[in-house]
């Protein structure tokens, strides 16, 4: 039986789909955007799609979704705009706390805190989104544009983030991750993978950030021991923006001019990228620099491979501490790869430990030979890194086919 539903006077209406019980919930612009959208987000059932029609939606509070297996879809990142300029509450624009969610084809402007956050989601795809602070890069902008945390099966695809005061795209304490074909510009950090396992960062453009792509691990967190991250096929271009992060945050310490930075992770491959015009290090590999009390934390970078990248025009004006002196000592331009040469650390209240895997690069590099974690860079004894043969790649991260299909 075909049933035709007349559009009710309300702008929110539900149309029953014939094949399944899944339905399409349409929301259109006009008054009362907050209540209309939040109501749709609450009343959606698993399998439903919420369609947000083109238009500008001015929102005074965050929106949140806690229903599994829902797709939220706009008419394009320039057409359907969730405008949080007047936001009065909540720590993010859109919060997702359920599983198997796809959020796509939307623009998100000027959220007071983070743009889109998922917490504890198994299956989260953020596709063809634009998160932008339209007043340009400022320390008063929100921290993260796209921010999945404590999640697994994470996809970020074909999205753009501009102006985040921390990282444009930030995946934290998560597992099984793909960040691909996205663009991060004018953020403090373009793309950051932190305390995460099994990630591919592939085919992205990170440009005009203070740092392009970061892979970090920090202590005192429920998930740590970041590992198995592949950074490949990215364009990391002229990340020379001044660092505008609030001091105190870890990214505030990222020197402007950094292309790729790996800190305290295990098994990281940087291969097949184009790294061009970054004034500092094209690739910086370092240990966690601060003192820490977490006995389970390993501050060393280990098992890091840099191979098959194209490095052009980097290293002419390194902004990191002691950079000018180091550059002068090696002929004016720092080579593409710099490692702090820290290979040992002291477990708080315990014994000294050594790194379990080395640092290898097929491009010219230097080590600062600092040795023990916590040694200041003033004690650097720069020396060339021995060149290593290019290493192979590893199998790609695979996400659930159903999630990939909905993200097409």
């Amino acid at each position: 039986m075909t049933r035709r539903l007349l559009p009710v006077s309300a702008l929110v209406m539900a149309i029953a789909a014939p094949a399944s019980h899944a339905k399409m919930i349409h929301v259109g612009p006009g008054g009362n955007a907050q209540e209309k959208l939040q109501t749709a987000f609450i009343e959606a059932a698993p399998g439903d799609t919420i369609h947000i029609a083109a238009g500008r939606y001015s929102l005074a509070d965050g929106l949140s979704l806690d229903v599994d297996n829902v797709t939220v879809k706009g008419d394009g990142p320039g057409a359907t705009i969730l405008d949080f300029t007047a936001q009065k509450g909540s720590g993010e624009g859109v919060l997702i706390t359920s599983d198997a969610v796809v959020l796509r084809d939307l623009g998100i402007e000027n959220p007071a805190g983070n743009g889109v956050k998922s917490k504890g989601s198994d299956g989260i795809a953020l596709v063809n989104l634009r998160v932008e602070w339209t007043g340009g890069p400022k320390s008063t902008n929100g921290a993260y544009g796209l921010y999945p945390v404590s999640s697994r099966n994470v996809l970020i695809d074909r999205s753009l983030v501009k102006g985040a005061s921390d990282a444009g795209i930030y995946v934290g304490q998560s597992q099984n991750i793909i960040v691909r074909n996205s663009r991060a510009e004018m953020n403090v950090a373009g793309i950051e993978i932190e305390n995460s396992y099994d990630a591919d960062v592939i085919g992205n453009v990170a440009t005009n950030n203070a740092g392009g792509i970061l892979v970090f691990d920090l202590p005192d967190l429920p998930q740590q021991g970041g590992r198995n991250v592949l950074i490949t096929g990215n364009q990391v271009l002229a990340n020379n923006h001044p660092n505008f992060a609030a001091p105190g945050n870890i990214v505030a310490g990222v020197p402007s001019g950094t292309g790729v930075m790996v800190m305290a992770n295990d098994q990281v491959m940087v291969t097949g990228n184009e790294v061009t015009g970054n004034n500092g290090n094209a690739v910086m590999i370092v240990a966690y620099t601060q003192a820490f009390t977490d006995k389970a934390y390993n501050p060393l970078p280990r098992g890091v491979t840099v191979a098959g990248n194209k490095f052009t025009g980097n290293g002419s004006k390194p902004a990191f501490k002691g950079g000018t002196e180091i550059a002068a000592a090696v002929g004016g331009t720092v080579p593409p790869v710099m490692w702090d040469g820290i290979t040992r650390y002291v477990v708080p209240g315990g014994a000294e430990r050594a790194a379990t895997g080395g640092i290898s690069s097929d491009a010219p590099g230097i080590t600062l030979n600092l040795g023990l974690q916590g040694t200041p860079t003033s004690q650097a004894r720069p020396a060339p890194l021995p060149l290593a043969a290019a290493a192979g790649t590893r199998a790609a991260i695979v996400l659930p086919a159903e999630l990939e299909a909905r993200a097409k």
Binding site: Q34, E35, Q38, T39, F41, I42, E43, A60, D61, S64, L65, D66, Q87, K88, G89, S90, G91, L95, T97, P111, A112, G113, N114, K119, S139, T140, N141, G142, A143, Y144, Y147, V149, S150, D166, Y170, G172, Q173, L218, D220, L221, P222, Q223, A246, P247, G248, N249, I250, Q290, A291, T293, D294, K295, A296, N298, V347, P348, G349, G350, A351, R353
Partner: protein, 347 residues
């Protein structure tokens, strides 16, 4: 006809239950009145029992009236630092109201909303009913209400009060994957009388003979500063900032059972605070409240900085003063000497 007769018979068999238990268990009623928890004058139905907490959450200065309804014959089971284990069928009720003059609490009250936590067989459900045109109406998507009041300084003010949406209820009330009550823990209910009364009336089992642990009153200057500060943090922050809560990923855990200094924020660096750090390096810088991120975020009412992230639009001056005093009095723990026999952690 038959139905009416049945009703008469039921009424004859037992006093008419005003609380609509079947409806509470099965449906989200559009009007609070449908549940029969209160009469038209706001008087609670028989069995709907008021209770108080030693330390409540700050909600823009709203006065809160709490009630519990337990299905007859099914007591709650005592828990010390988490909410009591309430049986299926329990309804926890919190009514929010503002006095016309903040200097005259309890007088000329304007009711704003009533929040219910209903323990259904599938788990706890959270509903909020907002006063609109003389009725309390279900609002799933939340609402902003402009509350006008004479403030403590004697000046007229408007509070941009936010009724939470249903998902926000869950954000605070989640523990792992499940929803749970937050306020009525054994410790927070322990005023020396209340729990004993619940036990005597058959509403509570498992109460320790000594009454169990007691969460301090945050506003009682006669109690130790440490206990008051930890009570304030437990209630105002610890519902999200715990190992199973919404803010688990921060590594800042402020529930009453946390003992690890780094997880309590002492010399802990920010993780994902962004501009919320205010340029400071530590959640709590011992002895330096004005260098502590925790205080900075309590002193803000700007989204993206303020903590809690929702539930208030005003700064809680008295709470800030308490934590300022606590942090100021905190000795700077210089790193302890290395332990003599450290156990390798197995890597």
């Amino acid at each position: 006809m038959k139905r009416a007769l049945l009703a008469v018979l039921l009424i004859g068999a037992a006093p008419a239950p005003q609380v609509n238990r079947d409806l509470l268990m099965s449906a989200d009623a559009p009007l609070l009145a449908d549940y029969g928890l209160f009469d038209a004058t706001g008087r609670p139905a028989p069995g709907v029992m008021p209770y108080t907490l030693n330390t409540p959450l700050f909600s823009d200065g709203a006065e809160k009236y709490r009630y519990v309804w337990l299905p007859p014959g099914t007591p709650a089971d005592y828990r010390a630092s988490t909410a009591l284990a309430f049986p299926v069928g329990t309804v926890l009720i919190k009514r929010f109201a503002f006095p016309a003059d903040a200097r005259a609490p309890g007088q000329a009250m304007t009711p704003i909303e009533t929040r219910l936590l209903i323990h259904r067989p599938a788990g706890w459900a959270a509903l909020s009913y907002v006063e609109e045109g003389g009725q309390a109406v279900l609002k799933r998507a939340g609402k902003r209400v402009a509350v006008t009041q004479i403030g403590v300084d004697g000046k007229a003010m408007t509070i941009d009060y936010a009724v939470p949406n249903q998902n926000q209820c869950k954000t605070c009330h989640q523990s792992g994957e499940a929803m749970t009550p937050i306020g009525p823990t054994g410790g927070n209910l322990n005023d020396g009388r209340q729990l004993q009364m619940w036990q005597a009336s058959g509403r509570l089992v498992g109460l320790p003979a000594n009454g169990g642990v007691r969460l301090a009153r945050w506003d009682n200057a006669a109690e130790p500063l440490e206990a008051r500060a930890r009570a304030y943090l437990a209630v105002n922050c610890g519902h999200c900032h715990n190992r199973a809560g919404f803010a688990s990923n921060s590594g800042l855990w402020l529930d009453p059972d946390e003992t690890e200094p780094a997880h309590l924020g002492i010399n802990k660096r920010p993780v994902a605070a962004g501009r919320g750090s205010g340029g400071f390096s530590f959640s709590i810088a011992p002895g330096q409240p004005d260098q502590s991120i925790l205080l900075h975020r309590m002193l803000s009412s700007e989204p993206g900085i303020m903590m809690p992230q929702f539930g208030r639009s005003l700064i809680h001056d008295e709470g800030v003063a308490l934590l300022r005093k606590w942090i100021a009095a905190m000795p700077d723990p210089t790193p302890a000497a290395p332990a003599a026999a450290a156990t390798p952690s197995g890597r």
